[in-house]
Symmetry: C2
Subunit: 341 residues, 2 copies
């Protein structure tokens, strides 16, 4: 392939080299819409490759922002991502989504890659991990990014100060506990997600605090650990109900695990929901109304949270770091009811 | 921020500048693992920014591949994306996911962006659009990418020759028709996706061909159009059942719309599935077993399809373009049964 030069494009469009450069690459002096269109048409006709990396060197940032998510197959993350992408597209920015599989090392790799590509900013979804070494490495990476003019924002806590959208995870945990207690449940099991996730810790803490305030015990044996997946929730529910047979309710720390709990109760344990066991989830992902029975859960406005996060990333802060708190609410559907007796 | 140079890193690690460069940026001569680790540690300690765009200029490609998807919130795409990402990570590559919202112009923008960033390759998910102008523009973009050493692969047809994984969409349509016909259905409605998507056309064609082979009519009024979303499927089902009240079965061209159809029948039309109306979907996304009733559908091995696509992208082709055909199969669950009489 013979390389097409910017001069070729300028000649084709009948403009100076400087005008062609300004039309395609921007700059301080403005080009009329008519001229820009003519140059762009010439560039398209010739198949001119405006050299991204070379431009990035000259311009410091590229019109790209990165989203770092734990698991894009979890509707919790994809719904937030859709909200963030809509907001970014309204600002003419492209969005690159990076999936970490909840691997802190991969998260650091992606942030470094986005920094090397001079992304305009990075929005971190899902919570950070509790490990100090991860937190300090990530903090370091993000400082480097900021030093190059990149912006950073988080959704949910990450263990350091930055612009952040903070859904009220702890309040959500409290609401779930209050709901089940008000229905009359006293022996409640919990399906927890990965212990090293800050979001998981907050949800569990809120749940535990509220039960304690209501004088309801939550012994450690009533808590089973899983991995925020449907399959993990299913297996944990079977194990938990085998270990503590008298439970009348299960609170799963996200909806995807709660859907696994419903499957375990229905297919393996042959227990009826909510007659034998009530189930409450967390997040209110799109399909909670379609599962059987429709899932009671803690609602977070996921698309809106994603939008807020992107706006924090794109709007220059007046001073200091900004925090947007997003309240949780409880949605009572069919999977929770008073215990049998 | 004072810029840390590669020389600073070399000094800190106690190696020559050439060795530091080779350890961090690769090259023809190999560096021992011990040396590489020492240099990388020094780079981390000093916060050295290996300059991505500058490197990209020198090296032609970056260790990044792009995935272009229509709608990452649709489990059809996220499941394929997860499969592709696992395969990419095994090869040490980072994956940037680009969501087009089914907007052909945005798809072209993303491909151009990935080209400008010297991505190693682009994997196009979901089908192409039928419009000739889009096809020729995309083809042109991908030619430019290939001219720079980038690789291209597709999942599902895109209207031009390239390495491709081709799930048997048409066979899947045939299977759905055969299944409903074998149960005894003769008046079958169809919820179709966007008419300009090649995948949609193939699925519908297979369904129609098989009905014709079985002498079952499918008049145009029994086909309702939607947009591959749950809400679209729900609204289309209400409209279709109002227009053609005698239908005993509905085939939705993807599962997400089929879940909307189940919701419409249950909540708005007060019809029982499968007693009053049978419903069949397409894709076999993860949650089809959790909806009520469990959805009969055409199964595609989604994660495997994503993996195949990434392998096509990463493995050098011996000669010519390669095609991997992936068969569809029918999964009979609870949402389909013989009609009432």
């Amino acid at each position: 392939m013979t390389a097409v030069t910017l001069q070729d494009v300028a000649t084709e469009a009948g403009v100076s080299l400087a005008t062609a450069s300004r039309a395609l690459h921007g700059g301080t002096r403005v080009v009329t819409a008519e001229l820009r269109e003519r140059v762009e048409q010439a560039a398209r006709d010739l198949g001119y490759t405006s050299h991204g990396p070379a431009q990035a060197l000259a311009r410091a940032t590229t019109p790209v922002v990165g989203l770092i998510v734990h698991d894009i197959a979890d509707p919790y993350f994809s719904a937030m991502a859709i909200g963030a992408m809509r907001a970014a597209h309204e600002s003419g920015l492209l969005v690159l989504v990076c999936n970490t599989f909840r691997d802190p090392a991969l998260e650091l790799d992606y942030v470094a890659r986005l920094r090397a590509q001079r992304a305009r900013g990075v929005l971190l979804f899902g919570s950070g991990f509790t490990e100090r070494s991860y937190q300090s490495k990530l903090h370091h990476e993000l400082d480097l990014l900021a030093g190059l003019g990149g912006r950073v924002a988080c959704i949910s806590p990450h263990g350091f100060a930055t612009d952040a959208v903070l859904p009220e995870h702890r309040d959500g945990g409290r609401l779930a506990a209050g709901h089940l207690a008000a229905l009359g449940h006293r022996r409640i099991g919990v399906i927890s997600g990965p212990a090293n996730l800050l979001v998981n810790q907050e949800r569990l803490r809120g749940f535990r605090d509220q039960l304690r305030a209501l004088d309801i015990e939550l012994p450690q044996e009533q808590i089973a650990k899983a991995d925020f997946t449907r399959e993990g929730g299913r297996a944990a529910a079977v194990e938990l109900m085998g270990r503590v047979p008298g439970l009348t309710a299960i609170f799963a720390l996200n909806d995807v695990m709660a859907i696994g709990v419903l499957a375990a109760l229905r297919d393996e344990l042959k227990l009826s929901v909510p007659d034998d066991v009530s189930v409450v989830g967390f997040d209110d992902i799109a399909l909670t109304v379609d599962v059987q029975p429709a899932l009671s859960t803690v609602h977070l406005p996921l698309e809106e949270i994603g939008r807020h996060g992107m706006r924090l990333l794109l709007e220059e802060a007046p001073t200091g770091t900004r925090t947007v708190r997003v309240p949780a609410s409880l949605v009572h559907r069919e999977s929770s009811a008073p215990p049998r007796d």
